[in-house]
Every structure is written in structure tokens, then in C-alpha cells.
Amino acid sequence: MTEAAGDRGDLVRVNFDFRRELAEKIEGDLASFCYQCGACVGDCPAATYSDEFNPREIMLKVLYGLGEELLVKDSILWQCTNCYNCHERCPQEVKPVEVIISLKNMLADRGIYPDPVAKIIKTFEETGRTTPLNAAVDRQRKRFGLPPMSPVPMDEIRKLIEPQDSAREAAKE
């Protein structure tokens, strides 16, 4: 099984730094249980409709520590439709989709998102919603006899999404 390392010759060096970083993400370590059976591929819509995407191969890259190949701009990771079929099918409870999302967390740490994704995240971080409210929304709601939406306490949301360390430092001050 060397296809993931195909153009690197036969010798595969596992990059443990990469795997350690991934393991720190919630459910990022699950790929370790993958035995490459391929059960996750058959019902994967992204694999069906794309020549590049294959959840088993992504897990293999992770096992080999070749994940840096996935941590690039316009990564194939973004072809995943988050349908959870692989989660459903995997006999090893690897939850490939969760490993893929953990890899996306690593992409985020490196500051590489596709623009549409970055935009939605920004909207959430600024308003507490992914679909912001405005006067037109209120008008539409009123038309259906609906009350205005209750405001999001953004001070609470901001505190919650602050990374651990800066909060600790703030507590020290």
C-alpha cells in the first residue's frame, strides 16, 4: 500500500509531528484504527462524483503522516459533503468525516480556508449567527406575524470562542 506515497519512492517516513498535532484535535486520533478496508468509499458521494477524493486514501495519508499534502490551499478536504455515510459504514468507528474536520481545524490553524468558508465563520464570530439579521429580515418576519428574533449575547459568545491560553493570561492579569 504505497499509493499515497507513490511519487516518493518506496520508503515511507511517518511524520509523527503531524500525527501528534492531529491527535490533539477532538476525534483527530481516530484514523489510527483504520485498517484500509474501503467500506467508507462505496457510499461516499464525494468519491462517486470526484476523481480525486477518496476517504480511505485520506485516512492512509494520515496514517503515513503525509497529511501535510492535505494541508494546502484548495485542499481536496473541502470536497467532502459532510454526509456522514463514512461514519455510518466504517466497521472500525474511525469516523472519517470527523478526521477530515479535524484536518480542517489544522488548516484553520494555518489560516488557510476557502473564501466562502472564511466569510461565514467571520459572520458567526461577529454576530453569533451565520445568517445575519437586518431590517429586511424583520419586515419579512412581521409579514408572517413573527416576533423579532431575540438578540445573541455576543459578550458570552466571544468569551467562549477565545482560545484557552489567552483566557488564562487574561485571568492572571
Binding site: K25, I26, E27, D43, P45, A46, T48, Y49, S50, W78, Q79, C80, T81, N82, C83, Y84, N85, H87, E88, K95, I101, S102, K104, N105, L107, A108, Y113, P114, P116, V117, I120, I121, F124, G128, R129, T130, T131, P132, L133, V137, Q140, R141, R143, F144, G145, L146, M149, S150, P151, V152, P153, E156, I157, K159, L160, I161, E162, P163, Q164, A167
Partner: protein, 302 residues
Amino acid sequence: MKRFAFFPGCLIPARHPAMEFAIRHTLPRLGIEIVDLEGASCCPDPIYFKSKDKLSWLSVAARNLTLAEDLGLDIFTNCSGCTATLSETYHLLQDEALRARVNERLKRIGRQYRGTSRIRHIATLVRNEAGYDAVRESVTRPLEGLRVAIHYGCHLLKPSRIMQVDDPNNPSVLENLVTALGATPVRHRNWYLCCGKACQTDDIPANMMHDLLSTVNDERADILCMICPTCFGQFDHGQMKVAKRFGEDFHTAPIYYFQLLAFAQGVPYDKLGFERQRFKPECLLRFETAAAGSSPSESRTE
């Protein structure tokens, strides 16, 4: 009346108020009292914000759940994305170590997650708490002969270990809910495909939706019924892109189940916001008994 905390999410209240109207209209007629949650935020979404940082995502989701815990109520969702986030949070936070990490964050705002409120998707809420018979009895104009293709989408059913809603390989909840309206549910060959919204390329969702719409069309379905506003957006706006790209115009009107239920319970067609859809479920007009004075949506948008 059984009381449940309503978690409306972002998309339905802001983009599809007609769906929210339909929910608020139909549930009390099924014996379910809606209790509003003050101060809820985005669930947060299981695609974008979760991709940034799972721990922050879990913490905000846990905060939303504590709002229902404060009321001592179970929570229901009207969007499959919210369902995914909140159910997964409930599931993951059964792990003590992770719960401690999340509660460490919640401490910053003086909250604590306890895991006392369960999460129900509105479709299963109706199935479990009202029952199909109550739905049938609430219908004042049965939709006899209407062929309703079903789109389950992903996060109502999967991951089944977490959702515990229905058999993901052969589900029945939406078929039964449609049957209770007097309509005929139609399962098409590509029923298990997803809407593709989360995918950040154009080709995959376009090809997938094209295949899905073709099989819906093969079954001569009148409308495509779903229970998620994200899927709805894909099949409404998204369908125009598919039509352009493949030069095939299926004209399959998508419909959110609770709007269909409201219609069957007698709400007039022109009170249900269908004129805002790109593809309008005009096939419903034949059930409109009191036609007096109303001239609902004239034109289909290409």
C-alpha cells in the same frame, strides 16, 4: 400540551420565515406547545465554524443546550444542521474528560453543561410525541393523489449511532408523515444522496443534484419534500444552476414538510410564502377549495 424548547437556528428565522410560521401554526394543533429560547445563538453550524475549531464549536453548542436545561425542557430543532451539531454535542459530552474541558470554557460565562436536555429533530418530535394519527386527524384537506418525492438529507438519520432516529438504510418517518396528509410518498432511486451544500466545489453538488432530480422526475413526482432549510436552498436556488448547466429544466418544486402540513391543515396557499420560491408548488392549488379573492403566485421563475 407537551412543552418543548424551540431552537430555531439561523437559516429558517432569517431566510425562510414562512417555514417558522408553518411550524408555529402546526405544532399546537398536534398537542405540542412551543417554548421560545431566549439568547440562543447559531448552533453553531456543523460545516463552517466546526471546521475552524471543534472545541469552540462544542462550547457554543453546549451553551445553547444549557438554555434549555435552565427551563428543564427537551429541545427541538427545525434544521438538520442544528440537529447534527446539538445531537453530536450531547453525544460527545457524555465523555467526562471532554465535558470537563467544555465546562472549563462555560465557566467563563458562569454556565455549566449538565446533559439533562435531549435533542429532537422536529420530524421525530412529531412522530414520537404527537404520532401519525394526530397528524392525520389535524388534516382538513387531504392531499389525495399528490405524489411527494422524499428527500431525507443527511443529518436527520446519520450518524445513526448518535441520531437514533430511524433505520438509515430504510427509513420510514418522512414517508409516514407524508402518508398522514393523504398524499402518496414516492421514494426515488437516488433518495440517499445528499444535497451537497457543504461541498466547496461546483462539480460535485451539480452532478449529484442533477442525478437526484432526474430520478425524482422519472417517478413523476409533483413535489420534493424535505425537512432541512439547507437542502431546501440547494433544491430551489441550486436547481436553477443545474438547469443552466445541463440544459434540462426539471421544474421540481421543493417544499418544507411543515409548510405542506400547514397547507393540509387548511392554511391558504398564498399565506405560506410560496411566491418567494424559485420553483413554486403550484400543484397544490388544485386542493385550494375556497378560491375566493386569492390569486396566488402567477409565474414560475426560470
